[in-house]
């Protein structure tokens, strides 16, 4: 961390381009948090690269005064993989949407996760195709009526975190546009994680899918419908932390902490290194309905694991190879093993 980087502010990370999202779009908040966090992290601007695909969210790189590329639809993870191999010292941030990252780009995303490049992926999930004006996406709930599904979608949606876990992602988290503080914390943790950090961010598209996450983000309902995970801490939630989660076998159950029957000490303690328990949390995915109680939707870091990064292993092989064979000798390569002379 350079001394100078320390003194930068969010403004230094703001480019001169007009931000062109719809007024009220959740993207603004994400941009703000990223611009706030970057100077705190202390990486020099010139060493930061934002790579995106196509979508409303993918305009993101234009608004940051760092290096950036607005790529093509779905390919940001692949572009970034090449970039990271080319220069492992860069701090690489991938910006993608639920269509960009999970529909057309799903394959690159899962391959990036298994290879575990040291990058941060911000998946803006608004459960809709914003830029193309409102078709359903792979995260839209079943039955969703959109321009392309006038009778409701018949696609069973992805659970993006479960998918990432299935692809052996090493850092899997969720946050939301409406909770700036939480988002900033998660962004910082993601940056610290060595490996591919995937953050799904619930983002409101107020034009084509307004209120998709209202039940989780609205002050009125948030306490009851969400649970904020902290590593090593018991799983409490609810108004005044009045509720908690316990595990009955592999089934999470809600317990009331006010009745006196259970105390915080009885609760499930979140362990982000436990693959199976974090998997159970990822599957807490039912949508709250007025008529039935469901498990709260978890936010925070579900899972984290240390595993070598692709670019490091690759550069290690290069180093070993140079060590063994010496720096490549171009003339020896041109000459090959068998030559003859014509005099």
């Amino acid at each position: 961390m350079s001394a100078e980087a320390n003194t930068l502010t969010a403004k230094d990370f703001t480019s001169d381009q007009d931000v062109r999202w719809c007024p009220g779009c959740g993207d603004y908040s994400i941009l703000k948090q990223v611009q706030t966090v970057l100077p705190e992290i202390g990486i020099e601007r010139e060493n930061v690269v934002f790579i995106s695909g196509i979508g409303c969210s993918s305009r993101f790189p234009y608004y940051l005064d760092t290096y950036g590329m607005h790529g093509i639809h779905g390919r940001a993870p692949a572009i970034s993989s090449g970039l990271k191999i080319a220069n492992p010292d860069l701090s690489v941030w991938v910006i993608t949407g639920d269509g960009d990252g999970l529909s057309i780009g799903g394959n690159h995303l899962i391959h990036m996760l298994r290879r575990n490049f040291d990058m941060n992926v911000l998946l803006f999930n608004n459960e809709i195709y914003g830029l193309t004006k409102g078709q359903y996406s792979p995260t839209s709930p079943e039955g969703k009526v959109t321009k392309s599904t006038p009778m409701g979608s018949v696609d069973h949606p992805f659970n993006p975190l479960a998918l990432a876990a299935g692809a052996d992602g090493t850092f899997i988290a969720r946050s939301m546009d409406r909770d700036p503080k939480h988002m900033r914390e998660i962004l910082k943790e993601a940056n610290l994680h060595k490996g591919t950090s995937l953050i799904e961010i619930y983002q409101n598209c107020n034009v084509f899918n307004d209120g998709a996450f209202g039940v989780f983000t609205d002050k009125k309902t948030k306490a009851e419908t969400t649970i904020f995970l902290e590593h090593g801490k018991p799983c409490v939630f609810g108004e005044n932390d009045s509720k908690g989660l316990m595990l009955d076998g592999a089934n999470p159950v809600i317990v009331d902490l006010e009745s006196g029957e259970y105390s915080v000490n009885d609760l499930w303690v979140h362990d982000k290194h436990d693959r199976f328990k974090s998997g159970v949390l990822m599957r807490c995915f039912d949508t709250p309905m007025p008529d039935r109680e469901v498990l709260p939707r978890p936010f925070g870091i579900f899972y984290q694991e240390d595993r070598p990064c692709y670019e490091d292993l690759l550069h290690e092989q290069i180093a070993v190879s140079i060590n063994r064979k010496g720096e490549g000798d171009l003339d020896a390569l041109l000459r090959g093993k068998n030559t003859w002379e014509i005099a």
Partner: protein
């Protein structure tokens, strides 16, 4: 007992100008290895050479069948050699199917060397010789000289003292053939012996057995009284210098590495395996000590986009594939084009459309290279003429990509990718310098990502450079600043600037030379890519025979050399032979409004010189 038929053709120590041998057998018979050993030995001896391996599409097609036949043709001579030969002088067949599949490629009076063990009942049936009718025995080969050897038996005998199993013993029968041919053509065993020692370094028993069989084959020729004739093919009067043998794909790989070193840029190679391009990946992956970063991506789209990402970060991004994989890269090519980043795309063409004929050669992706993407996205296209030329053109592709900040297509094909020829390799110091327009340090005026120099080329600034932070993308960009712009006039301007930049590359490539013939000949044969050797041979012969014909071979297909149109207008007729349904000919007609005529062949096989010659003679005499 082996016997030699038509003993009247047997003479002693004959000298030959050039010889074409076709090795053929089951894909498990080690044909490719036999062929390439003979090639190397002959090259080391000083012959000029050209080779053509031709293998089946299946990994192991059913043993003994026609579909399973693998072939390796080589033409070596004391004269300059431009093709693997139209028809063979010698056909080596390890089984009946190999004979059936290839007899039509043998010259009348040519020699068949047949492994009699491969002509048992089962093999005859599998090859489709009905009722076990053995061609070795029914006089059907009367027009040829037939040398029958029970290679399998002799190999086993040579190894009878060793503890190897039958299967393992049989595996070295190709060495017997090789030894025998070395005797026949007066070759030394040394190079192959070295190769064997190297290859089986970890299995000494295999070194011993292979060496034994190789010698047995040689001695068989030497001692067997029936074989009194040996041939001599003297070294070719090639230009002075040090030579090596090289295959096309290998030359591409080496050319790319050489260019990356001379440009001072790490080489990033993003690719996804596909026949016949995979060998470039295999070769590059071996040279990590040249700071080569090879990345086997999840698909072709990731291959090219990762290469684009690497170029953004200051590597020279390269990607390669064959037709179907290239088709997948179209969208990303547009991105590279509008970003104006360097990138090299190698297409080792194969038979299409779709999966087509994956192991066969074709030149049918020229239009795809020129136009296979949306919008106006001009990309320079180069094509090597021969295996060794792959080095030069790969090097050129990187040079143009880097110095002109553009993606560049390199169109090779299956024929030159796997073919080999002697190469008077250069010394690294003599290679053309490559100067990337790379800003090394910050400062000065604000960086304008799409400001251009006199060549119309923008400056390349790479992440990590302080104060030069900038964003690029696939939306139309404002001239100079690179900011997103939807302005109509700007779009037209940028489209024209990008086109102009590519057009101006013509100022930085060699003018078109006449390969042979007079500039006002009656007929010009205009070739590109791998048809070079066949056309060159045909034109040489025709000129010797007094025809008014000339040969132009184009290696720069976009932009064309500046003088190409003028040159072409000097001829009364222009014929364009292509291994496709007529692609370059379309461009020539459109560009120069010349009534150029196609000569097409779409058989997955290269032209023979005589096919070209026949068509040319017909045109002239029509």
């Amino acid at each position: 007992m082996e016997k030699t038929k038509s003993p009247e053709t047997v003479r002693m120590n004959e000298e030959r100008r050039d010889v074409t041998i076709l090795f053929a057998g089951d894909s498990g018979d080690g044909i490719q290895l036999t062929g390439s050993q003979f090639t190397n030995t002959s090259a080391l001896f000083g012959n000029d050479i050209s080779t053509f391996p031709n293998y089946p599409a299946e990994i192991r097609a059913p043993q003994g069948t026609i579909a399973g036949v693998s072939g390796f043709q080589l033409n070596f001579g004391s004269v300059e050699i431009f093709t693997p030969g139209d028809m063979c002088d010698v056909l080596v067949v390890m089984n009946a199917a190999a004979l059936k599949a290839n007899l039509n490629r043998l010259k009348i009076g040519g020699t068949v060397i047949a492994n009699t063990a491969g002509f048992d009942k089962k093999n005859l049936t599998l090859a489709g010789y009905i009722d076990g009718n053995n061609p070795l025995e029914n006089n059907s080969l009367g027009k040829y000289r037939l040398i029958e050897i029970d290679i399998t038996k002799l190999t086993r005998e040579a190894l009878k003292e060793t503890p190897l199993g039958i299967k393992e013993k049989d595996r070295s029968k190709n060495m017997f053939v090789l030894g025998f041919l070395y005797w026949m053509y007066n070759r030394k065993l040394g190079p192959t012996e070295d190769f064997i020692r190297d290859k089986f370094a970890k299995a000494p028993e295999l070194i011993a057995s292979n060496l034994a069989v190789l010698k047995a084959g040689y001695n068989y020729g030497d001692t067997s009284e029936t074989f009194t004739t040996r041939y001599e093919v003297k070294p070719a009067p090639l230009p002075k210098g040090v030579y090596r043998n090289i295959m096309g794909n290998q030359a591409v790989a080496i050319g790319l590495i050489a260019a990356s070193r001379k440009a001072g840029l790490p080489l990033f190679y993003g690719s996804y395996p596909i026949t016949p391009a995979s060998d470039i990946l295999h070769e590059l992956a071996r040279h990590k000590n040249f700071d080569v970063r090879s990345f086997q991506a999840e698909d072709e789209i990731a291959a090219i986009t990762s290469a684009i990402g690497s170029s953004f970060a200051g590597n020279i991004g390269i990607t390669a594939s064959s037709g179907p994989g290239i088709a997948l890269k179209g969208e990303a090519l547009g991105l590279a084009c509008i970003l104006e980043l360097p990138l090299v795309i190698v297409n080792v063409q194969r038979g299409g459309p779709s999966t087509g004929l994956p192991t066969k050669t074709e030149q049918a992706d020229l239009m795809q290279a020129l136009y296979g993407r949306n919008g106006e996205a001009p990309i320079p296209v180069l094509a090597p003429a021969s295996p060794r030329d792959c080095f030069e053109m790969a090097y050129e592709a990187v040079r143009i990509a880097v110095e002109h900040m553009t993606p560049v297509f390199l169109l090779s094909d299956g024929y030159i990718a796997n073919g080999a020829e002697p190469w008077r390799f250069p010394v690294s110091a003599d290679l053309t310098p490559i100067k990337p327009p790379l800003r090394k340090s910050a400062g000065g005026e604000a960086y304008m990502p799409y400001a251009r120099d006199g060549k119309g080329v923008r400056e390349w600034v790479v992440p990590g450079l302080k104060g030069m932070e900038h964003r690029i993308g696939g939306l139309e960009k404002e001239d100079i600043t690179g900011n997103i712009s939807y302005d109509p006039e700007n779009h037209q301007k940028m489209t024209l600037l990008r086109a102009e930049k590519v057009r101006r590359i013509a100022d930085f490539i060699p003018e078109q030379a006449l390969d042979r013939g007079s500039p006002d000949a009656e007929l010009c044969i205009l070739s590109w890519g791998s048809t070079y050797g066949a056309v060159k041979t045909a034109v040489k012969e025709m000129i010797e025979e007094g025809y008014s014909v000339a040969h132009i071979h184009v290696k720069y297909l976009n932009p064309f050399p500046k003088n190409l149109g003028d040159l072409l207008r000097g001829f009364r007729r222009v014929m364009v032979p292509e291994l496709n349904h007529g692609q370059l000919v379309k461009i020539i007609r459109s560009e120069f409004l010349i009534d150029a005529r196609p000569l097409t062949k779409i058989k997955g096989l290269p032209f023979t010189a005589s096919e070209v010659k026949e068509a040319a003679v017909n045109t002239l005499e029509a």
